[in-house]
C-alpha cells in the first residue's frame, strides 16, 4: 500500500511541473499594451511605475530566472501582490478559498445524494419508465446553463411570490443558519448540474456490474435483488464513480465562478472575475495556480481511495 501511495505521488510531479509551466507561461504572455492599459486603469502614468509594474510581474529578468524565482516564491507561499489593492495574494486567497470550498462541498453532497441513488435505480430498472425519466432529466441538466437556472431562481420567485434568495454572505462560524441559507441555493444548482454526469456514469457502471457473473452467483445463493445490489454490486460499481467525482472537481470550480457571481458569494470565483476586469494579473495567476494544485490534490485523493476500495490495486 505504501508503495502504491509513493508511486502516485511520484507520478504527480511531472503533471505538477507542466501545470506550473502553463500558469507561468500564461503570465508571460501578457502583451505590452496591456501593461499600458493597467497603467491607465490604475491611474499611474510615469515610466517608473511602468518599471515597477514590470518588476512586480517579474518581467525584467531572464525567463528561466523568472520561473525559478516565481516557483521559489510559490513554494514559500508567496504568490505576489495584488496590483489593485497592494495586498498579498495569498492573504486574500486564504479568505476566499474556504468560501468556495464550502460551496463546492455542499454542491458535492447535493450531487451525490441525487445522482447515485438515481443512477442505481435506473440501472436496476433498466428501460422502464423510471429509467427513461431519470435519463431524460440528466440529459436536460447537461444542457441547461447554470447561469440560466440561477437567473430564473432569482427572477421568478420575486415576480410570483415577492421572495428573493438571500444575497448576503455571513461567515459560517458567525451564524451557521444565515450562512447556509445563503449558500444552499447556489449549492443546489451547482450540485444538480454536476449530478447529471455522475448519474449517467453510475448507471453505466451499475449496468456493467449487473451483467457480471458474480451477480448471477449471488442470485443463485438466494440473495434478494436489493440485498445483492447492496452487498455485491455496489462495491464494484462505485469504484469508478469515485474516480468520476474526482474528474468532476474541475467542473465544480468552473461552475462556482458563475454561481458566485449570481448569488454574490465572495469566493475565489468572484475574486477571479474582479481581477480580470481590473487586469490584476498577480491575482489572476495566483488563483489559476491554486486551482490547478487543488484539482491535482483532489485527483490524488481519489487515486489513493482507489487503493482503499479495490483490493486488486492494493496488492499490485
Amino acid at each position: 500500500m505504501q508503495a502504491y501511495i509513493a508511486r502516485r505521488l511520484i507520478a504527480l510531479v511531472p503533471t505538477l511541473l507542466f501545470a506550473s509551466l502553463i500558469v507561468f507561461v500564461s503570465m508571460r504572455l501578457i502583451p505590452g499594451d496591456v501593461i499600458d492599459l493597467m497603467l491607465a486603469q490604475n491611474d499611474i502614468a510615469t515610466t517608473q511605475d511602468r518599471e515597477r509594474i514590470e518588476a512586480a510581474l517579474g518581467l525584467d529578468q531572464p525567463v528561466l530566472t523568472q520561473y525559478f524565482n516565481w516557483a521559489d516564491g510559490v513554494l514559500k507561499g508567496d504568490l505576489g501582490r495584488s496590483l489593485w489593492r497592494n495586498t498579498p495574494v495569498t492573504e486574500d486567497l486564504l479568505v476566499t478559498m474556504p468560501i468556495t470550498f464550502e460551496l463546492g462541498f455542499l454542491a458535492l453532497i447535493v450531487a451525490l445524494t441525487v445522482a447515485i441513488p438515481t443512477g442505481i435505480y435506473s440501472a436496476m430498472r433498466q428501460d422502464t419508465m423510471g429509467d427513461y425519466v431519470s435519463r431524460s432529466f440528466s440529459l436536460i441538466m447537461l444542457a441547461v446553463p447554470s447561469f440560466w437556472l440561477g437567473t430564473l431562481v432569482m427572477v421568478f420567485p420575486s415576480v410570483w411570490w415577492r421572495w428573493s434568495p438571500p444575497l448576503e454572505y455571513t461567515p459560517f462560524f458567525e451564524d451557521p443558519i444565515a450562512n447556509l441559507s445563503h449558500m444552499i441555493i447556489p449549492a443546489i444548482l451547482l450540485g444538480l448540474s454536476m449530478s447529471a454526469v455522475t448519474m449517467r456514469m453510475t448507471r453505466t457502471m451499475m449496468l456493467e456490474v449487473l451483467r457480471q457473473d458474480y451477480v448471477r452467483t449471488a442470485r443463485a445463493k438466494g440473495l434478494s435483488e436489493n440485498m445483492m445490489v447492496l452487498r455485491h454490486a455496489l462495491r464494484n460499481g462505485l469504484i469508478p464513480v469515485v474516480t468520476l467525482i474526482g474528474l468532476q472537481a474541475p467542473l465544480l470550480i468552473g461552475g462556482a465562478v458563475i454561481l458566485e457571481q449570481i448569488f454574490v458569494v465572495p469566493g475565489m470565483g468572484q475574486m477571479l472575475l474582479e481581477a480580470v476586469f481590473q487586469r490584476d494579473y498577480p491575482v489572476i495567476s495566483g488563483i489559476f495556480l491554486i486551482v490547478g494544485i487543488g484539482v491535482l490534490l483532489i485527483n490524488l485523493l481519489v487515486d489513493l481511495s482507489y487503493g482503499f476500495l479495490d483490493p486488486k490495486v492494493r496488492h499490485q
Binding site: Q212, D213, Y214, R216, T217, A218, R219, A220, K221, G222, L223, S224, R231, H232, R235, N236, I239, L309, D310, P311, K312, H315
Partner: protein, 322 residues
C-alpha cells in the same frame, strides 16, 4: 418413474426473446434425477443444456420464459414458486456451480465471506459462526491453510482453488441437489480431474444429487450414473452411463462417441467429425433437428421424433434406421 425421484422435469419448454424473434432454446425436455444420483447432461453449446439448468433455479433473467412444463422438486412444482419461495431454495436446497470461477466470485469481497454468506442467509447464523463453518468447508474441499485463505481475495487464488471455493459455497447449506454447469471447462486439464473427483466424493459423502452439465464425454464416462444427450434443445438420448457407452443408439450420440480420439486407435488416422453445422435455433428445420446432418435421414424424419424407450432405462428420440 422411480419413487426416489428428487427432481423431475416434465415436458419443459423455454423460449427466449431475441433480436431475431422467439427462439425455443429448450423443447419438451423430460428428465429425472434420483436422490444421490449423478446425472450428466451432454451437448454442444447451443444445445440448451445450460438453459435447462438455469431454469431449475429460475435464473433465466428477463429474456427467457418457461413456456410449458413443470419442474418437480420433491412434491413442489418450482415453476409455480414466487420469487421469495425460490430464494429459499437457492443456495439452500438446490445449489449451483458455474463455469468461470474467476468471474463468478466477487472480486472485492474476501472469499471467506462469500462462502459464509449462504449460511448467514439461510441458517440465520452470525457472521462469526458462519466464518468458522466456512473454514471447515474450505478444509473439506482440500484447500491448504484454510484459516489464511478466508481473508484472501479471488485474484490471489489459482483457478483450481477458486473452483474449490465455489464448491464449498455450494455445499455450505447441505443441499439435496447440486447443479454444476461445466465446472471444469475453464480450468487446466491437470486440474480438471481433481475438481471432478472432489465433486464426486463430496456429493457421495453428503448424499446430494448432482447434475453435471458438460460437453466432454470423457467426464461423463467416469463420473456419471446416468446421461442425457441434448441436441437443439431436445433430449435425443438418455441412458445409464454404462449403457450409453456400450450401446449408443442415436446417430448424434454415435457421432459424438466416434469423434473422441482413442488411445488404441490407428496412429495418423483422421479424426471423425459429424458433418454439417450446429443448428440455428432461430431457424430449425421441420421435424428432427438432427436430420440435416444424419446419414440415416429418410422421409419419416420430417416429423419430430418423440422420446421412446428402447429398454426400461434407455430412451431415445429417433425414427430408427437399419
Amino acid at each position: 418413474m422411480s419413487t426416489n425421484a428428487l427432481l423431475r422435469l416434465n415436458d419443459l419448454s423455454i423460449v427466449f426473446r431475441t433480436d431475431r424473434g422467439l427462439v425455443r432454446a429448450v423443447d419438451s425436455v423430460t428428465l429425472q434425477v434420483d436422490e444421490g444420483e449423478t446425472l450428466a447432461i451432454v451437448g454442444e453449446s447451443g444445445s440448451g443444456k445450460s438453459v435447462t439448468a438455469l431454469s431449475i433455479l429460475q435464473l433465466l433473467g428477463e429474456a427467457g420464459k418457461i413456456d410449458r412444463g413443470q419442474i418437480m422438486f420433491a412434491d413442489d412444482d418450482l415453476t409455480t414458486f414466487s420469487e421469495s419461495q425460490m430464494r429459499n431454495i437457492r443456495g439452500n436446497r438446490i445449489s449451483m456451480i458455474f463455469q468461470e470461477p474467476m468471474t463468478s466470485l466477487n472480486p472485492v469481497i474476501p472469499v471467506g465471506k462469500q462462502v459464509a454468506e449462504p449460511l448467514v442467509l439461510h441458517r440465520d447464523m452470525s457472521w462469526k459462526d458462519a466464518l468458522t463453518e466456512a473454514e471447515a468447508l474450505l478444509r473439506t474441499v482440500a484447500i491448504p491453510d484454510p484459516r489464511a485463505r478466508l481473508d484472501e481475495y479471488p485474484h490471489q487464488l489459482s483457478g483450481g482453488m477458486r473452483q474449490r471455493i465455489m464448491i464449498a459455497m455450494a455445499l455450505a447449506c447441505q443441499p439435496k441437489l447440486i447443479i454444476a454447469d461445466e465446472p471444469t471447462t475453464a480450468l487446466d486439464v491437470t486440474v480438471q480431474a481433481q475438481i471432478l473427483a472432489l465433486l464426486k466424493d463430496l456429493t457421495h459423502a453428503t448424499g446430494a444429487a448432482l447434475i453435471l452439465i458438460t460437453h466432454d464425454l470423457g467426464v461423463v464416462a467416469r463420473y456419471a450414473d446416468r446421461v442425457a444427450v441434448m441436441y437443439a434443445g431436445r433430449i435425443v438420448e438418455s441412458a445409464s452411463a454404462m449403457d450409453l457407452y456400450a450401446e449408443p443408439r442415436h446417430p448424434y450420440t454415435q457421432g459424438l462417441m466416434s469423434s473422441i480420439p482413442s488411445l488404441d486407435g490407428v496412429a495418423g488416422a483422421e479424426l471423425t467429425t459429424i458433418d454439417g453445422q450446429p443448428p440455428d435455433l432461430a431457424n430449425l428445420p421441420v421435424g428432427c433437428a438432427f436430420a440435416p446432418r444424419c446419414k440415416y435421414a429418410r422421409q419419416a424424419c420430417n416429423t419430430t421424433p418423440q422420446l421412446t424407450s428402447i429398454t426400461d432405462h434407455h430412451h431415445w428420440a429417433c425414427h430408427g434406421y437399419e
